[in-house]
Symmetry: C3
Subunit: 432 residues, 3 copies
Amino acid sequence: MTEIEAELDRYLKRLFPLCRSITGEPNRETLRILQEIIPLTIHEVATGTVVYDWIIPDEWTIRDAWIADANGQRLVDFQVSNLHVMSYSESVDAVMGWEELQPHIHKHSDLPEAIPYRTSYYKRDWGFCVTHAQYAELKKQQGELTVVIDSELKPGSLSYGEILIPGQSSQEILLSCYICHPSMANDSLSGVLLTAFLARYIAELKDRHWSYRIVFVPETIGAIAYCALNEAAMKQIDIGLVITTVGGPGKFGYKNSFDPAHPINKVIKTVLIESDVDFITYPFDIHGSDERQYSSQGFGINVASIFKDKYYEYDYYHSSLDDLNFVSSKQVAETLSIYEGLIDKLEARRIFRRTNPYCEVMLSRHGLYQVGGGALWPKYGGRSELDLILWLLFLSDGKNDIRDIAAILQASSSELELLADKLVEKGALVPC
Amino acid sequence: MTEIEAELDRYLKRLFPLCRSITGEPNRETLRILQEIIPLTIHEVATGTVVYDWIIPDEWTIRDAWIADANGQRLVDFQVSNLHVMSYSESVDAVMGWEELQPHIHKHSDLPEAIPYRTSYYKRDWGFCVTHAQYAELKKQQGELTVVIDSELKPGSLSYGEILIPGQSSQEILLSCYICHPSMANDSLSGVLLTAFLARYIAELKDRHWSYRIVFVPETIGAIAYCALNEAAMKQIDIGLVITTVGGPGKFGYKNSFDPAHPINKVIKTVLIESDVDFITYPFDIHGSDERQYSSQGFGINVASIFKDKYYEYDYYHSSLDDLNFVSSKQVAETLSIYEGLIDKLEARRIFRRTNPYCEVMLSRHGLYQVGGGALWPKYGGRSELDLILWLLFLSDGKNDIRDIAAILQASSSELELLADKLVEKGALVPC
Amino acid sequence: MTEIEAELDRYLKRLFPLCRSITGEPNRETLRILQEIIPLTIHEVATGTVVYDWIIPDEWTIRDAWIADANGQRLVDFQVSNLHVMSYSESVDAVMGWEELQPHIHKHSDLPEAIPYRTSYYKRDWGFCVTHAQYAELKKQQGELTVVIDSELKPGSLSYGEILIPGQSSQEILLSCYICHPSMANDSLSGVLLTAFLARYIAELKDRHWSYRIVFVPETIGAIAYCALNEAAMKQIDIGLVITTVGGPGKFGYKNSFDPAHPINKVIKTVLIESDVDFITYPFDIHGSDERQYSSQGFGINVASIFKDKYYEYDYYHSSLDDLNFVSSKQVAETLSIYEGLIDKLEARRIFRRTNPYCEVMLSRHGLYQVGGGALWPKYGGRSELDLILWLLFLSDGKNDIRDIAAILQASSSELELLADKLVEKGALVPC
């Protein structure tokens, strides 16, 4: 196990047991643990706040829950798995027979061994989620059952984490993960941890070009609250990544952003190909995660995702089998490495424009022209530096990325970038 | 004969004999008869009014006209056919020989039996139109001929009919036909009657979506006057139909609007294909009818036409053989039914946009989300209602027609429309 | 030899010996001789003037220069060829041995017989350019060598010539050539003379449509100064031609402007094809001549060039062998004739728009409609005049060139142009 895998492993194990939801203390605890990795700021949005079409619901606290038989034996116990209680269940303390209880009991349709994952955030309800064996056991009980959910719904706040990492350019790239799932490892814990580690990677990048806006929000309501509270900033963003389900044992995959022609999709594909891994390409779909908010008409951010065992697609999705047997730190580290490669590629995207668009720059005045002519110019793959400089100045119009220009010129983009930096230094180009 | 055919037949017979022109009492009489079918408003534009590059000419009245031989025998007689007199002929009362008369006599180049149709609206002139037999008879006359046209050209007005049928959307569709032809049945009487019946059909549509601007104008000068008097409204219109030559025994056909990629052309083609009739496709041509005005650069309305024996194309065009033997109410009813299908298709075109473009709509708050999940959602052709709602909200950007969206989603457009209506009712979408 | 060839021949011989550079009296002398051909205005820009990123350098005067052996024998002599002195060499009067001299001696890498062409405008330096034989002779000298350059660098001005030839349209076409080369015939003398003769041709065109801005500038610094001093006018120009290397014995060729889809490229290709000559097509390249300035982002003029032995491509480029043995007046006259054909084609480009975009023009009111109908209309290649007039009015939207319209209608563009002129005269169209 590498050092990074070991570190990931420790955090997976610490964070897995917490009973996260869209609000609540375990969310704050999760964010506080992530602060050990990166200095994120924890924000609180008061319950009752209207965010676009939505209202932040009351904060949920769960202390304990069980179903006990006539002998007081716990047949279903929240202490065993927090998935046993439907998230946002209201408080119950009752004695009832199977017939009354049954509508509140949920089991997985396909996996007998699994406890399914259920929520009821906006409709007041309560429920237990059980294995098929537990279901049978409950059903066969003759006597009365004691049903307790020791929970509370009351005014409080929704918590989210945010870190803004500035770069040379004020243009931001959005990274978003969701912190609202209880004990499931691929969905969403793997994404939360990967995002924190990736944020640390970005923060350590020298000469970072782009700025990064990295958020840890409860899915949907948290992303919507974030958009509403940061509308102006979010409208300026062009590229986003929603990071989730990145630690499974299965194949890599990526989901295209809504505009298939947007460069982010091509860059991701290139990274995956260059990583020499098998991967599945998913078209954009309005179903998914918080791209539903970020890509809505008002924001129009091109949001893509890289997965390892994409949500919806793996058998253990939304069940207790999505655990630390299914997810390993090694698998998360593999996807982290792909994401780091993507950041490198995005950092390599550079867009420049002429400081003054009229006529040529006087190269010799800026020490860019070597009197004495052709033979003295350094050559880059068959083209002279002079040649590349002239083309760079001609094509840098504030829209062409340096890689597009490199493709046009059949030149190396890293060499072009060095030249562009030189031209920026000389005042001939301005980075965008 | 169906009821509608019988009704069309009665109107064809009543309207056929009237000696219509670009102005005059028979035009008003025609519009008054059409008022029995639909409540159109009759407007009068004073002669002498300047409309763009044109001036409304004096009003023309024709009472009688003939050419008689030395014995007083009428060789050519307006009472037999109003086509015998060139429209807008000035008054004549003279005795003359063949040589003097001959330049005023017009015969059909190809059809010996036919009286050709001639006009001279803007150049003061007079003339008679005759069959080849009449021409020979006149030519062989030795004695003087009495030539009488009892007509009058004097200040008055140009008359047109108009009916505005409002719909839920203020966006209008233009329907136009021309009322300036005397006793010819396919060109233009069939179009005038079809337009009136189609207007009635539209007026009776329940929950009509679009608004309709339906005009009965003399061709060219009437359409130009209409445009000049309604410039602001006409500039807002996107789609138009010029309805003419719709009652012949020959093939159906349609003429494309000037932009072949405009949806109106595809919709017409679909209607014709679905009607299972043979049809001819005509490209846009600047020759034609009042699309010359409506599609001019200043208005740019995409105007198309559906025909049954298109003008220019049938042998009897602009002759006395274009009569009620050539045109039957059955044939007009067939084309009417196609046009009704087209209106249905246009009504099915619906364009929506998000009320608030930021983030998702909270479906459950609007009763649009069924807690309990997947299995409970109604399915439409393999897609759940939730799926369609999410896509509809994402793609309704004020430009995509619901049919385009249906094509993208491979879904039924009528089902999508129901969902769109529901979303409008919930305040999530606004129809355009 | 034709009359025009004889005339070109006289000017080639008079202008060839002058020791032109980017500034100096020989440039003025060149412009004064060109004034015999066309009435160009000579402008002076003071040295030290800042033009965008550049500064006009001091004016250079060269009177004499030589390298003499110990016996006073001139081994290299400016009087024999002005190419022997590097342009902008500073003054020298020294006695030195070969080792000290050697860094200042330049020979051609490939052509032993040739004196290469060298300049050092912006870095203070001096140098001699010699044949391989001279180089060997200098090298073997044992004694001291006398090295004299009798030159002067001092405040003065940069000179350029300009002629504005107005046309019916205020839209200008740019013609540019460079006058900064000393005794070389193809580069750039042939281009300078051709431009002057072409200007005369244009000035004599009857009913000239476009306006022409024709400039004779020192390459780069002169073009940049011209752009800076005429920025507003230059930003309005769409089409330009840089005329150079047009008199070699080799193939014709043309270099595309930066937007390959711009009409200028197609028009040039058509002219070359119709001239029935072999030619080479060069893509746009940021290397080249003053298109580097005119096509820069701030101006964006689509500049193309027609060549006969393009710069860079012929062996004698930038050497004393590019002389009047290599270039003949016959060859220049051939390219002149191609350029005249191009001007004719550009003149034939005509763009019109409707005076009033609403509805049709009343043709009869303007004497454009012949009452009496079809048979009387003149026919042009199967289409009647009426037909062409209607289409012209419909399609003349201020963007479509009359040749584009002719292609759409499969009609003759010269006939269409006559009709367009008629419509302009009648007030229905306005030329752009």
